[in-house]
Amino acid sequence: MAINFKQKPGIVVYLTAGDPDIETTYDIALAALDNGAEVLELGVPFSDPLADGPVIQRASERAVARGVRLLDVLELAKKIRAARPEAGIVIFSYLNPVVRVGMAEFCKLAKEHGADGVLLTDMIVEEAEEYLREMKKNDLAPVFLAAPTSPDERLKAIAEHSRGFVYAISRVGITGTQQNLESDAERLVSGIKQFTKLPVAVGFGVSNAEHVAAVGKFADAAIIGSAIVKLIEDTPREQAAEAVGKFVKGLRGQGGGSR
């Protein structure tokens, strides 16, 4: 397993795979890893991303329009794995593309393509019997979301069924950038930590060095998604990898992570 946070806090980068195209996502992924990201979440574009804000919706729509499929994202994972054996790679998807492939087949393929873990946005622990069985069979880490609205009973189940890390959603709402990290996040992380020794990563709205530093005070890793997807949207494709590399590097530095 390569999901392992050596730095404090660790940095997880979410990318909508195939935006602007798969080759560029590959270059961006390596740039992120080479500049301090330890785990990548490769987002499978979906036609109906109902947990996502406008930035990831647009990226997803562009990638779907290009015909990017779950299997293309797995191929991408394989290439990244070959180039960066140490990287943590999580396949991040809505459920339906996975259902289309079949849960057992998907888990097998994810393993074969070098993924370490999977996060399914609309999969909750109660519905996860088959998913957990197939993940276990393939020695993959299921990462579940924990929300500020989750009561302790749910946090306990989420913690018990997660492997790799637990994804703590910083605030109620959809993905997207925000100005301030809400106090929800710290309370949630300590709630999760009652039940597990797994690392806890905080995402949704974490968009700059200041946020990363704030998250580092109470959690093990920070997940940066929309801010990077937006940067990619705003940058010509030939310059996207370099821009993301610089941005990720800045996330740890003083006043970095700004554009």
Partner: protein, 417 residues
């Protein structure tokens, strides 16, 4: 899809709640596939609904309003001229179109509105396709003094403009949704994003028998009154049950309400009519049982029109209320069990049915309901005059006058015949 692994983690009273309203599984279908943020709200709703359902005070408040405000029971009308013209089975119309606001949708909107009030939620959101659920929700919010935001695809706002004005007049804020094909599915995505963001203060009045548990069960329960009345009325008027019950199927709420009490009566054929649109290619219709595959969309496992990569397809129907890529999970089960049959009517057949029913009976049906009428026009002539069909006339067609005027050339002096 696997079965729930551990139903006790939900916390309070889970087992008791399940005994009362079920697990939300309809065979393999249904379930709860949502972002974790919504789970606490769904469990709170499940619990509140299970308690309300058993509470006589809640039921009598609902019954009283259904009777005096909404206009229940609705008539079971024998469409004599239409039946004679078709020359087969007798056709009865269950007149949900006569309800306050003009469609069956108010049965459910009122039930959920009262539940929201009971739960102390002051902010209501809803999605709408044809605008009938939006109008019903805006109406209930006015009646109960609650704040109301309605999400509606921009394409639907254009084609059901009258209902947009009605919602605004009733005090609701209508938010247009431009994503995707700017129809019902896109409106639900946006309503769910709102709910995820404002979940602590907001009640989502979902408008069809769709979405995550407990919605499909709860919405069905609120529409069950249709078949409960119908059964009794048929016995009184015909001395027997109908040979067939026909209803249009968008998300499936009017159909499940019309079917439900007849499900154990295996001599009664149950026929759901989907939107055949303008062709059988993916994207040209909304007939989920004729080209859809099992999948997960918007919180539930059911039939979904999609491509082989699992991307949800765009859909087309002349009727906004049927123009949706998935279908309620209970229908998916009834389909697989072969207890109900699912067929479709095309845009042209539905438009023709509007005209036929208007001119034989003086009843202008909604374009959605006209799909059911179109199917009745196909099957009645194949049956004997001693047999009887019930068509659930889910709504009236005033909202469709713009489309009808265009499609039927009603603008000139000589309306086509």
């Amino acid at each position: 899809m696997g079965n729930p692994i551990d139903q006790t983690i939900a916390g309070v009273n889970t087992k008791e709640v399940q005994r009362s309203i079920g697990s939300g599984r309809f065979g393999a279908y249904g379930g709860r596939y949502v972002p974790e943020t919504l789970m606490a709200a769904l469990q709170e709703l499940e619990h509140a609904y299970a308690v309300a359902r058993e509470d006589g005070a809640f039921q009598s408040e609902l019954d009283d309003l259904l009777r005096h405000y909404v206009g229940r029971p609705t008539p079971m009308y024998f469409a004599k001229r239409l039946s004679e013209q078709l020359g087969g089975a007798k056709i009865y119309l269950k007149r949900e179109d006569l309800l306050h606001t003009g469609a069956h949708k108010i049965n459910n909107a009122l039930g959920q509105g009262l539940l929201a009030k009971r739960m102390g939620k002051q902010r209501i959101i809803a999605e709408t396709g044809a605008g009938q659920h939006g109008v019903a929700t805006a109406t209930v919010c006015a009646l109960l003094g609650m704040d109301c935001v309605i999400y509606m695809g921009e394409e639907d706002m254009r084609r059901q403009e009258l209902n947009v004005y009605r919602m605004r007049l009733l005090g609701a804020e209508v938010r247009g949704v431009g994503a995707g094909s700017a129809t019902l599915k896109d409106a639900i995505n946006e309503a769910m994003r709102d709910w995820v963001t404002n979940v602590r203060t907001t009640f989502y009045i979902l408008g069809s028998a769709l979405g995550s548990h407990p919605y499909p069960t709860m919405v069905r329960d609120f529409h069950r009154v249709i078949s409960r009345e119908a059964k009794k009325q048929f016995m009184e008027q015909e001395g027997k049950l109908p040979d067939a019950v026909i209803a249009c199927v968008g998300g499936g709420s009017n159909a499940i309400g019309a079917f439900y009490e007849f499900i154990p009566e295996t001599n009664v054929r149950l026929i759901g009519v989907e939107a055949g649109g303008r062709g059988t290619a993916l994207g040209e219709h909304a007939a989920r049982f004729h080209g859809g595959l099992p999948g997960v969309l918007q919180g539930t496992f059911s039939y979904v029109l999609q491509n082989d990569a699992g991307q949800v397809a765009t859909t087309h129907s002349v009727s906004a209320g049927l123009d949706y890529a998935s279908v309620g999970p209970e229908h998916a089960m009834l389909h697989d069990q072969k207890r109900a049959e699912y067929t479709y009517a095309t845009d042209d057949e539905a438009l023709n049915a509007v005209k036929v029913l208007s001119r034989t009976e003086g009843i202008l049906p909604a374009l959605e309901s006209a799909h059911a009428v179109a199917e009745a026009m196909k099957v009645a002539p194949t049956m004997s005059t001693s047999q009887a069909i019930m068509v659930n006339l889910s709504g009236r067609g005033d909202k469709d006058m713009g489309i009808l005027a265009r499609e039927m050339n009603l603008e000139g002096a000589k309306a086509s015949s």
